[in-house]
């Protein structure tokens, strides 16, 4: 067993064992924080699928909102199980991604323009959620209709936090798997070439629109799935916590902080931001509202200027340079293939 593989296995074993550790009264709280970290890491990872190829979206809150609200409304209004509703939600997000993405890529809306279009899409979804207040409850948000105990599995509502803990870990691992599949595919080379120079990429026969649309659809689908999971866990959805510019920026921030070019970067970034926010909240309570974000903002500026590959990405580079890993391979914690 190679070293990275052993590390990966022990890390997963450790994660799986967390709910078994006796923590007294802290148990529920620790699990709650960890579930949030896994869900938002998954979402940040989904964002970085696009972000790493210079497809910067400031509108991922749109997919998050579509996902969470579609599943929640289908359950609340029609009693449709979120297992099916979630699929509908993902399909809806992919449809929106395609409707906006296709003309964007076809007509080569790139750079700042692309960012602004995504920003507008995020705002449109947020405002539509507020405007449809007859169904969605507007800015006040919407509570997931509680299911009777015997229908718990059907409604995907579980009183026990451990169920959500393992569910979020599985989803997170699935996200990492997909990230790596993309990382090792031909699509990655194609998309990197497109990110560098679209015209040059097209001239060597890369179907620019198809590749960009593909990665956008994947990213949107995963983000929507994350939104469904989050809604099921929190059992409350509101436009500000799911679709505002603040949420979209937060996703971007976590990915950039950890490093959007590496497998575990978004996870590290998310874990750090959530841990810092929780720490400040517990230590200072409501006295220092805004402190956590003030620090995030400063760190983000410094990172972009001095370490654009992010904290985890930077650590990786240092380790590579120090020869901690055999040269010629890119190191990841979840190395599964030999060689």
């Amino acid at each position: 067993m190679t070293l990275p593989r052993a590390l990966a296995v022990s890390l997963i074993a450790l994660i799986a064992a967390v709910p078994l550790v006796p923590m007294g009264g802290m148990h529920q709280y620790v699990l709650h924080v960890l579930v949030q970290i896994f869900i938002w890491s998954f979402i940040a990872g989904a964002w970085s699928l696009m972000g790493r190829f210079r497809l910067v979206s400031l509108g991922h809150g749109a997919f998050l909102g579509i996902g969470a609200y579609t599943a929640t409304l289908l359950w609340n209004v029609f009693g449709l199980t979120p297992w099916v509703g979630g699929l509908a939600a993902v399909a809806g997000a992919v449809a929106v991604a395609a409707v906006v993405g296709y003309p964007c890529y076809r007509l080569r809306v790139v750079g700042h323009y692309f960012v602004l279009v995504t920003l507008a899409v995020g705002e449109v979804v947020r405002l539509l959620i507020i405007a449809g207040r007859g169904w969605t409850g507007g800015s006040l948000g919407l509570t997931l209709r509680p299911a009777p105990a015997q229908a718990s599995l059907l409604a995907a509502q579980f009183a026990d936090k451990r169920v959500f803990y393992y569910a979020s870990v599985v989803v997170w691992l699935g996200g990492l798997y997909l990230w790596r599949r993309v990382d090792r595919s031909m699509a990655r080379s194609a998309l990197e070439a497109i990110g560098e120079d679209e015209t040059a990429a097209a001239s060597v026969g890369i179907d620019v629109t198809r590749f960009k649309l593909g990665i956008t659809a994947l990213s949107a689908a995963l983000t929507a799935a994350g939104g469904v999971l989050y809604a099921q866990y929190i059992t409350y959805v509101s436009p500000e916590t799911l679709s505002g510019i603040g949420v979209s920026l937060r996703i971007v921030f976590a990915a950039v902080l950890g490093g959007m070019y590496s497998l575990l970067g978004p996870t590290v970034g998310t874990a750090l931001t959530i841990a810092l926010a929780e720490y400040l909240r517990v230590t200072f309570g409501i006295r220092l509202i805004g402190m956590a974000e003030t620090i995030y903002g400063l760190v983000l500026i410094l990172l972009i200027i001095f370490l654009p590959v992010g904290l985890y990405g930077g650590l990786q580079q240092v380790m590579l340079r120090a020869g901690a890993v055999r040269p010629g391979r890119r190191m990841t914690f979840l190395q599964t293939r030999k060689g």
């Binding site: 910067v56 906006v100 323009y113 539509l128 950039v256 903002g297 972009i304």
Partner: protein
Amino acid sequence: MMDPIFLAEAALNGVLLAGVLALLALGLNLIFGVLDIVWIAYVDLVAVCMYGVYFLVTLYGWPLWAAGLAAVGLGGLLGIAVHLLIISPILGSPPVNQLLATGGLLFFLQSFMTLLWTTDHRSLRLNLPILQAGGMFIPFTRLLAFGVAVLAVLGLYLFLTRTYMGTAIRAVSQDREAMRLMGADPQRVYVVTSAVGGAMAGVAAALLIIQYPVHPYFGAAFGPLTFMICVLGGLGNMVGAFVASFILSEIISFGGVLLSTEMGYVLAFVLFIALMFARPGGILARRA
């Protein structure tokens, strides 16, 4: 059928909102449009200047005009600071990084304002007369903002086309490298432009604080619209931005009256997305 006076008032409100938006878009259009650098936190700088005016007037008892002038100075200084501290080190990296770095600034400014001044809405509550014409009410403050916006557009236009510095700014926007080869110092051009753009944020702040309450999320409310106006008008095209702010604010105003406030904004954003596909060079661009 709706009362025609109601619709006329909506149209007029649209015109007045256009003045506000055009004012906000001025400085941004200079930096984003002419220099091609994204200050995603631009409207948050305006909010900082608004707080500046507010506190100078309420806490230190300055007269409004003096506080407004101070805001213009503060804006200029902030503009220089943003350029030297954030943009200048990453001028050569992909534009996306400039966007993300100023995104960090947005986060920082919004939360730092929350930390310092809480989320209270603060307003100067200026009791300027409300003009009445044909059964419609026109707040004088908005008329003032509108007038200044028109003057500032003219001033900026003359500055960009008639002065040496303006020509230099436009030259840098065309080719960042060639400027250096001509023996000119692009750094100076950047600093001056950032200062002028920042000062414009101060001008906007001085005129906005007398009609809108300021709060830490002021930037989030107006930021996206301001960017869209710059793009819709055609980057760097001051007249185009003016036209764009008219179109968007009329849609917002009429949509708000006929449907709902949110739907007015939705229509404006959807139109923006559609026009990005149809006329990426801006509404006034000549067809290719």
